[in-house]
Symmetry: C2
């Protein structure tokens, strides 16, 4: 059960068997059915979620009362509302399973003590956060520098699995399109 | 000279006098005139820059050969091309002084060894990175959820000092406006 998360961590840092054991003792295994909530808007985020299997989306309700998707996460990715974790305030966003999903939660309340015992894990999380920041910065760059169609083609080439796996209206929301516009783009492709 | 950076770090973590000394030994003081480059596109980013005094902008050249500003940084903020630092590849963006600017560079080549000697600094940088990620995520949310005018008003209320300090055409670039549109918005305000 711990194989995926330990394999992922080993790509970045080296842990001793004792350190791996300590980490595993601090993880909570959770299973969600499709449409279950990992986090609901208005509640405080409990910690960082590592996706073992499945797919989730992170969204907020915008002023037009539509769901605006800001992130997806699949196997071997972490997801959380870092804003809520950082401030301790209730979350503005919701994280919901799109498929049956299994995760490990690293509870925020365990994190500081675990990092003191296993400093390499702090290095690992700093690298993951740096990657997430770079991805968010790149995404901002794409929004300013690509047409909507270019952005869709680019996203498709980077993450072809998403195009198959995620309902079309969610993909449209993530890219800031109407579902109709995305539909026309996909039709053009063939 | 080290007062500002040490004060900033003390807001997040506690360092012993010896640890502060180690940090200071690893910093390089640099001074730039207005329009000097801290980083030029095509070169590899040397490390993280802490602004002691001054103001810089980070931009890339977009496909229309315009400068697209993606970040500003002023006193007590860090700036770097995290993408280049993470991958070791040449940077796609440029960091340039808008005013006479003094910085401390924490060279990337010193970072790993320094973090081993002073683990609290890794905690500090992880927190700074988390803040930067949250800011980038919020900015993505604003782009999808606010009109251009709302985004300008919001930015003005969060960072009133920028409105005074940064040339109007740079502010327009950062917000994704034409200078003419920003000019009309500012005129409306009065």
């Amino acid at each position: 059960m711990y194989r995926e998360i330990l394999d992922h961590i080993r790509k970045y840092v080296v842990l001793t068997p004792e350190e791996e054991e300590l980490l595993c003792q601090n993880l909570e295994y959770k299973k969600y059915h499709k449409k279950d909530f990992l986090l609901e808007a208005g509640k405080t985020c409990k910690g960082n979620y590592f996706i073992i299997r499945g797919c989730v989306r992170q969204y907020f309700i915008n002023k037009k009362l539509n769901e605006q998707i800001i992130n997806f996460s699949i196997e071997n990715w972490w997801i959380a509302d870092q804003d809520s974790l950082m401030t301790g305030r209730p979350s503005a966003c919701t994280i919901q399973a799109i498929e049956e999903t299994e995760v490990f939660l690293l509870p925020e309340k365990n994190k500081a003590a675990l990092f003191r015992q296993v400093p390499s894990l702090e290095t690992y999380f700093a690298l993951i956060m740096q990657k997430a920041f770079v991805a968010a910065q790149r995404r901002l760059g794409y929004i300013f520098n690509m047409t909507d169609e270019e952005r869709f083609r680019h996203f498709s080439s980077l993450f072809p699995e998403f195009i198959q796996r995620v309902p079309q209206y969610m993909l449209a929301s993530y890219l800031g399109f109407t579902p109709q516009f995305l539909s026309r783009l996909r039709a053009k492709k063939h």
